[in-house]
């Protein structure tokens, strides 16, 4: 959790909401944070590259109003109606923070701070999950490699795993990636491990 004072100066916000009193209050607050804001209804933006954050109307929102399945920038949902259907739709857009109407003179700063934090957090988590899924996919290969090492060197599974892990560290890659590299050398694979070549030569 950063200790820096949150600062949104010169960021651009897109407000996908009909211009009304709530939008006026929202714009008032955004001005205090030096955020440039554009209000647009109905939604028709396709290029979001100049935008840093999107506020969107949940009451009048609909599937397909955004061109993504996964938003590349933080979204803040503006909730009016608390009916289950509207709330479920809001959640389905994967916003990083929420505001409720009527929007007064507070609430937007906390929504901005939490939105940027949660968006980054979620992206980090998704990257980690993808990485772990990939490593899980390689599990049979890891087992296969350990068994080969055990068989060729006549050592037990612990020793085989330690050897594999040490070699991975030497190459500065994951255990799974190391198995893939060793496998690429087929029958010669153990000769690519310097430690092993030396001990095989001594035998």
């Amino acid at each position: 959790m950063t200790k820096a004072i949150p600062n949104f100066s010169n960021k651009t916000a897109l407000i996908v909401h009909k211009a009304d009193g709530n939008v006026d209050s929202l714009l008032s607050q955004l001005r205090r944070f030096n955020i440039d804001a554009i209000c647009q209804w109905p939604p028709r933006a396709k290029d979001f590259s100049p935008v840093d954050i999107v506020f969107f109307d949940v009451d009048n929102g609909f599937d397909g109003m955004f061109p993504w399945t996964q938003a590349p920038i933080p979204l803040i949902a503006i909730i009016g109606s608390e009916t289950p259907g509207r709330l479920a739709w809001a959640i389905s857009q994967h916003p990083s923070a929420y505001l409720t109407t009527p929007i007064g003179s507070k609430g937007v700063f906390q929504a901005l701070v939490t939105a940027f934090h949660n968006h980054t957090d979620r992206a980090d988590l998704q990257r980690e999950v993808a990485d772990l899924r990939e490593r899980l996919r390689c599990r049979p290969l890891v087992v296969h490699t350990i068994l080969r090492i055990m068989s060729v060197l006549g050592i037990d599974d612990d020793a085989a795993f330690h050897l594999l892990r040490d070699e991975s560290m030497r190459r500065r890659i994951s255990v799974e990636a190391c198995c893939q590299e060793l496998e690429a050398h087929a029958d010669n694979f153990l000769s690519t491990i310097p430690e092993l070549s030396r001990s095989l030569a001594r035998k």
Binding site: F8, N10, R32, I38, C39
Partner: protein
């Protein structure tokens, strides 16, 4: 000649309890200004103060405020010192569309439509102080404060600025409000030898700390080798009296007002304050801000010819008042005030010598949106102008 219209004004300060000294200063500033407005021929109304003392109990503020609005027809309240009392009042003034005129400097990050903030925002006192101290003494800071939101948030700003100067926050220590267990702090400072101390202790805690610091020979007034300056945003003239010389000497304070400011408005203010409240009394930023609140309210009442909050806010941006600190006006983008930051060093006679000042009043930035480009200070001693970076106006396009 018919009688003037009477406008009831709520005056809500705790003159007993832990903040009595500040409460008294704010009450005095308020009453002095109300007298001046009522005597002046250019107002066709009379302000009637309805003074209430919540005794330092946060829970009393909301009910007193509600009572003033509903039962006494009050549309404007001059009041509050702590953030907890102000936050208790905000929902009440918002619900009944009254206005709270809040005279205290505070940690910022708020901007209610029903509050007018007459005290310094963080960019008008903490930021100039941090820049002044880091650029003159070095950026290794030791922070000690009372354990509540104002010190926590002030320390955050201090940390960010010293780190920008390539320094660090060596320690961050908090004492319970009212605690005088300061020995550990003093010893740790002796050990760590910071370039300066940032003190956000309040009340008795602060007085005990400054005395113990002096006793330990660490202060800038001592004859020893060690000379560590103490900087704060809260040390004020009445407190210098409480602490007593020599412990009260040589401390650096960031404030938009000092009693020693040399201009005709301030000389008149100090003279009138002493005439009304006693020749031994000293003015302070708290007293001046309360005084300014009433004068600004009076100007707005005259201009709007109405007491309604919305009518007052509509004219407030155009009201300009020549306060004891200099010209002030309200920024209606955030209801905070254009004020002039200054740095003072405490000296004999419960006064501060001004050593640096901004060239002119600076725009309030309660959310520190322009922290990176915050204005630097004019060094009054060296007469050296440093660059000021004005926050750029945000663009706004409504496309439909």
């Amino acid at each position: 000649m018919g009688g003037k219209a009477k406008i009831p004004i709520g005056v809500l300060f705790s003159t007993t309890g832990p903040y009595a000294t500040v409460g008294e200063a704010m009450l005095n500033g308020t009453l002095l200004a109300i007298d001046e407005v009522n005597r002046a021929p250019d107002f066709d109304f009379e302000l009637v103060p309805l003074v209430r003392n919540p005794g330092g109990e946060t829970s009393e503020y909301a009910s007193i405020c509600r009572d003033l609005i509903i039962n006494s027809g009050v549309a404007h309240i001059i009041g509050c010192y702590t953030s907890s009392s102000r936050k208790a009042i905000v929902p009440v003034v918002e619900k009944y569309d009254a206005l709270l005129w809040y005279p205290s400097h505070y940690e910022g990050f708020e901007s209610s439509d029903n509050v007018v903030y007459l005290g310094a925002s963080p960019n008008q006192h903490i930021v100039p102080l941090a820049q002044y101290m880091a650029s003159r003494f070095g950026a290794r800071v030791y922070c000690c404060g009372s354990d509540y939101i104002w010190p926590w948030e002030s320390n955050r700003v201090m940390r960010e600025i010293v780190e920008n100067f390539g320094g660090e926050m060596l320690a961050e220590r908090y004492l319970a409000v009212g605690s005088t267990e300061v020995t550990g702090l003093v010893e740790e400072i002796r050990l760590l030898r910071p370039d300066f101390v940032f003190n956000t202790l309040i009340g008795e805690s602060s007085y005990a700390f400054l005395r113990a610091f002096r006793e330990a020979g660490l202060g800038t007034q001592s004859a020893d080798d060690v000379s560590i300056p103490i900087a704060s945003c809260t040390l004020s003239e009445p407190e210098l009296r409480n602490i007593g010389d020599p412990a009260a000497l040589g401390h650096i304070t960031s404030s938009v007002y000092f009693q020693s400011l040399d201009n005709p408005q301030n000389h008149a203010f100090v003279k009138n304050y002493r005439t009304r409240f006693g020749p031994q009394k000293v003015t302070s930023a708290d007293a001046e801000a309360s005084y300014n609140s009433v004068h600004m309210l009076a100007l707005a009442l005259r201009s709007a010819a109405s007491t309604k909050a919305s009518d007052i806010l509509a004219v407030l941006g155009d009201c300009v008042y020549d306060a004891p600190q200099g010209r002030i006006r309200i920024d209606t983008e955030n209801n905070h005030s254009y004020l002039t930051p200054r740095i003072g060093v405490s000296s004999a006679g419960a006064e501060f010598a001004v050593v640096a000042a901004a060239q002119k009043p600076i725009k309030p930035d309660p959310f520190l949106a322009s922290l990176k480009g915050a204005a630097f200070m004019l060094d009054a001693a060296r007469d050296q102008i440093q660059p000021a970076d004005h926050s750029r106006q945000p663009k706004l396009r409504v496309v439909s």
